[in-house]
Symmetry: C2
Subunit: 260 residues, 2 copies
């Protein structure tokens, strides 16, 4: 095995790519909010120490991605990212920005806890039956190692609990969030690779959450929701770290082979 194997092609990142990345960061982190006007091209080019044509290249990319809109003679503005029409842009943004994903989880933690508490307080008989059925399906999927069904049950449980909260605004907001989740961020390949090995724990957390809602124990439901998100976040972090270490170990292995 050749030493060459451990080296990786240099990313030929263009200047405009770097500009795009910085502005995306500002939008993804919520510093630049929707509707906010960016500085004029001349000003921005100067503060970024970049020529205007290059800045314009970057702005063109951002506009193509739906993150900003520019109007002749007026300025460039951060596009509205809420509303399902803009979900693809947001989704792609989160996938390119790992830190933003943790912010997303932090936000979701509060929402889930709130939803679980309300659900425990307000769930109707129909809600409770629905949750019971989902828990049964979740357990079946786990026993039969049906990963796909397991994910669907997971998704269904969270949706059922939000519905049970009977709060229209919450339901609407969480619908957008779940759409994100379902399409790729939360359930992308890397994440599944991380979480699959802990399927039983996940199932038990769902069961605890569901039972707390069914029995109407608000505090227990809230705690179960927090614990669940905390667990997901921790698993994700560990997965990232593990993959980083595995990649390094692989490189080491490639080198030691050549010594044998």
């Amino acid at each position: 095995m050749n030493t060459t194997a451990i080296f990786e092609p240099i990313g030929h990142e263009s200047l405009s790519d770097a500009v795009v990345a910085q502005i995306e960061d500002l939008i993804a982190s919520g510093i630049l909010k929707q509707g906010r006007k960016l500085p004029s091209e001349r000003d921005l080019a100067e503060t970024l120490r970049v020529s205007r044509p290059k800045l314009r290249e970057a702005l063109a990319v951002l506009e193509e991605r739906g993150l900003v809109t520019t109007q002749h003679g007026e300025g460039t503005f951060v596009a509205a990212l809420t509303g399902s029409a803009m979900l693809p842009a947001l989704l792609a943004l989160y996938e390119r920005h790992e830190p933003a994903f943790f912010d997303y989880l932090e936000y979701r933690r509060e929402q889930e806890g709130f939803a679980a508490k309300l659900a425990a307080r307000r769930a109707t008989k129909a809600d409770k039956e629905r949750i019971t059925n989902i828990l049964a399906e979740d357990e079946r999927a786990w026993r039969e190692k049906d990963a796909l069904a397991s994910r669907e049950a997971d998704f269904a449980l969270h949706a059922a609990i939000v519905d049970a909260s009977q709060n229209a605004t919450l339901i609407h907001m969480m619908a957008s969030i779940y759409e994100l989740t379902r399409q790729g961020v939360f359930y992308n390949r890397d994440f599944l690779k991380t979480i699959d090995g802990t399927g039983k724990l996940l199932m038990e957390q769902h069961r605890e959450l569901g039972m707390a809602v069914i029995t109407g124990d608000e505090a227990r439901a809230e705690k179960a929701a927090y614990d669940h998100i905390d667990f997901v976040e921790e698993s994700f972090k560990l997965g990232i770290e593990r993959r980083r270490r595995e990649a390094m170990a692989e490189k080491r292995r490639l080198l030691s082979d050549s010594k044998l």
Copy 2:
């Protein structure tokens, strides 16, 4: 306050900078060990997708920094990084690579635990007196908020414990490590900013460590050493995270001002 304030100049990183960074990573992470031969310039340029002149530019920088040596007609090799002659290169390397710093801490954790255990077993009367004096000085520095003296006492305590271990190899190895520490990595400005607010905790940890050695309690000494390094690592991580959040909050503040 203008929106312009939140944007930062784009780093005009040259191609060769990127090449330098990758090879430094491989060396800093220990994947490329000293004496290892790099692929030939033609091969390496091809796998990195970079022209040979640019690769050579990068290699020239690496050689200037003391990380590699090249020999006409023979090849380019990773320089020997052990030995105090090479400390500046290693030091600079660690400062440019944050992840390597945590690897350094991980290594140091084992060494410190081992040293503390040996010291508790073998410390002479003179060693114990020396440690007692250092602990007193540490406490005085803390009471009088003498940050510089506090750091010196910290350093002195660790050195005294290593000396008390009576193991020549360990003493020699730790000397190199401490040199790193003292010169800048461990006690750099950012790190101090993090740790200073927790001065009392640090002092108490030192006291626990020193007393364990003096009383000859091996297990307690080992645990105290582990706890200390764990605390340092955690503080450092928190400090990094805090600075990151503060930087973002500052940007948010700059924007909200313009709304008032």
